[in-house]
């Protein structure tokens, strides 16, 4: 993706977001009392203003993209294994989603251990034994600090409870 294409995506995205906000999200999800006399003081005024400005910025991005160099120089460093990289992104998204779902059932400590190990192996660590040790020690140390020093009620889950 070169700079022009990136700016095209951003411009189109900003315009689409603006239209979505103006015609659907703001009218449906922002409530305003019926007795507001002045439009400037309405809870709707600020969101509509910001949505309008976002649309204008999107148009600006589309208009000024012709000023950018037309070469094919990529915006980010190229990567050799793009399909695998995309797959890794899907996996890290799944790890995050899994963490959210598991946290209340397994507890934060066990979830964090699984998260650490899964991420370390996902990025192909060259220190697998150290990764396993860290996956156990770091969440436990953080639990000890937050639960016993800072007094935070770390979720314990339904399986194994820590002191």
């Amino acid at each position: 993706m070169n700079a022009r294409r990136a700016q095209l995506h951003l411009g189109v995205g900003a315009c689409a977001l603006s239209l979505l906000m103006i015609f659907w999200i703001i009218p449906v999800y922002v409530s305003s009392p019926s007795n507001v006399g002045n439009v400037i003081l309405s809870p709707l005024f600020w969101p509509y203003t910001l949505a309008g400005l976002t649309g204008l910025t999107g148009l600006g991005l589309l208009a000024t993209r012709v000023l950018l160099p037309a070469d094919d120089a990529p915006l980010n460093d190229p990567i050799d294994d793009a399909p695998q990289a995309w797959l890794r992104l899907v996996v890290i998204a799944a790890i995050m989603l899994g963490a959210m779902l598991l946290m209340s059932r397994l507890g934060m400590v066990w979830t964090a251990m699984l998260c650490f190990a899964a991420t370390a192996f996902l990025v192909r660590t060259r220190h697998p034994k150290a990764a396993v040790v860290c996956a156990i020690v770091i969440p436990l140390a953080l639990y000890a600090f937050f639960a016993h020093v800072a007094g935070v009620a770390i979720p314990q889950g339904e399986v194994i409870r820590l002191p």
Partner: protein
């Protein structure tokens, strides 16, 4: 209250072992965090923030300030030894620092970086002490229209100079402002974008948004490209910085410190432009200008003075006006809020002990930085050897604990992950994240001051032009926009010529 009374009040809150211990630990964490390639001072401050929740306000804030100061210096260590700046502000240090390392003078370059950093730090802290109180007493006369125009100016300059394009910066700031509207309306108390979820009624948690924007994208970027190259560390060499080197570079150090103070006190500019400006001024005026870029110790001194000169000065708008000057001070403002403190002119009246306690702590931090920095230079090898592919999962786990600890709410962890993906997309499209975060913090303040102004004037917009202060801020806002647009056009015109050449 006299100046001496204020100092004594400050001493009563920081005159204890915990405060100085926090400061020392903070500087150590900052130097290590700044020195680890792939971490940054910003990430170090963000990840330290959750650990301050259970501390006394002054202790927690001193810990964060220590991390900030240490992080800015720490960034210069990998810049010199492996040509990888630990923070964006250290980029200018590479220009002469790395050639010195190649010549076997890394120890001399790092020593000068440390001496220049500590000197600039002292100058910057003194400016903070001199100007913050004066600015705060001036700001006491600000009403909602003045604050509205000040915040608008800050956002304009942050959006304009944070990235390579004003429009991308503006888009980032607008998205931040939009996100800040989530929650109950400030005047009528009606729902805005809460989607029926009670978790959203108080708005999005600031810490979740900030950690999501600044730490999680680094985790995702590592997953995308796990084998990103890290350079090989150079040895320190036998030469060490001498007092003669320091004396030779002294003018550049002081000039760089003053440039840092000036640019740092303007919200939004930050340390990187200051370091480059200080470097170019030193090169222009130096007797040894032909050596710049080839390993000139004065070049290292100038760039380090420029970037450290900013560190104390960015706290001037933060403490005096309640407006964060950059991302790190935006995080520090979060620490103030968590401890029930609201930075701004009233803090100089209501919490004078904390203000002067911070001043004392900042002065002491320069001394800590000198000693801890000296040790860190020699211990960098061990820091550089920390495997990044173990560091990144550790960061992820720390983020989960830290964000949860703010409100004991798993929902915030979800917000952090979602913001992480937003931050990653912004990173890929080179949209700066700083305007987003600062707009998110200042958004409610901007809207609140705008609506208060309208209520005061019966919806007459001319109140936003009511006096010299508002005129001043409107003028500098317009000048900033024009200057940024002109600079953008010039850069795009120059590029094709350079490409042809």
């Amino acid at each position: 209250m006299s100046f001496l009374d204020s100092i004594l009040a400050g001493l009563t809150v920081v005159g204890n072992i915990e405060a100085f211990l926090a400061l020392g630990i903070g500087v150590t964490i900052g130097v290590i965090g700044g020195a680890i390639p792939g971490m940054s001072a910003t990430m170090a401050v963000a990840l330290t923030l959750p650990f301050t929740f259970s501390m006394q306000p002054i202790t927690g804030i001193l810990l964060l300030l220590g991390v900030y100061k240490g992080g800015i210096f720490g960034g210069s260590i990998p810049a010199i030894l492996i040509k990888t700046p630990g923070t964006p502000a250290s980029s200018a240090t590479i220009l002469d620092g790395y050639p010195m390392a190649e010549k076997g003078e890394a120890g001399r370059a790092l020593g000068m970086a440390l001496w220049a950093s500590c000197t600039a730090d002292v100058v910057s802290n003194l400016s903070l002490i001199l100007f913050a109180g004066w600015l705060a007493s001036f700001a006491l006369s600000f009403g909602p229209p003045e604050f509205f125009t000040l915040i608008l100016f800050s956002l304009t300059i942050i959006a304009g100079v944070s990235g390579d394009s004003l429009l991308k910066g503006a888009l980032s700031a607008l998205l931040g402002l939009m996100l800040a509207t989530i929650g109950l309306d400030l005047v009528y108390g009606t729902n805005r974008f809460t989607f029926g979820d009670p978790n959203l009624m108080g708005g999005l948690n600031f810490i979740a948004v900030l950690i999501g924007l600044f730490a999680i994208p680094e985790v995702i970027a590592m997953v995308w490209h796990p084998t990103a190259h890290v350079g090989k560390a150079r040895s320190l060499g036998k030469n060490w910085v001498s007092f003669a080197d320091y004396r030779r570079s002294f003018r550049s150090i002081i000039r760089g410190s003053l440039i840092g103070v000036f640019l740092g006190s303007i919200p939004g500019i930050g340390a990187a432009p200051s370091a480059f400006l200080s470097y170019s001024e030193a090169r222009r005026r130096s007797k040894y200008k032909e050596n710049f870029g080839k390993g000139e110790v004065e070049g290292v001194a100038a760039s380090e003075a420029g970037n450290n000169g900013v560190a104390g000065a960015t706290l001037i708008p933060l403490l005096a006006l309640g407006v964060p000057g950059d991302v790190i001070t935006a995080i520090i403002i979060g620490a103030f809020m968590i401890h029930g403190l609201q930075p701004g002119p009233m803090m100089f009246i209501l919490n004078v002990d904390i203000i002067y306690g911070l001043f004392i702590g900042l002065i002491v931090s320069s001394v800590f930085l000198f000693f801890i920095g000296s040790v860190a230079i020699k211990g960098f090898k061990y820091v550089a050897d920390v495997p990044r592919r173990l560091l990144v999962p550790g960061v992820l786990v720390l983020c989960i604990y830290g964000v949860f600890a703010v409100n004991n709410n798993i929902f915030d962890v979800g917000v952090m992950f979602a913001m992480g993906w937003v931050g990653y997309v912004m990173m890929r499209y080179q949209v700066p994240a700083a305007p987003f975060l600062i707009a998110f913090i200042l958004g409610p303040l901007l809207e609140d001051n705008f609506r208060q102004s309208m209520l005061m004037s019966g919806s007459d917009p001319s109140i936003l032009l009511r006096g010299p202060i508002t005129w001043f801020f409107w003028t500098v806002t317009v000048i900033t926009i024009v200057a940024i647009i002109r600079a953008g056009f010039r850069a795009t015109r120059r590029k094709p010529v350079a490409d042809k050449g």
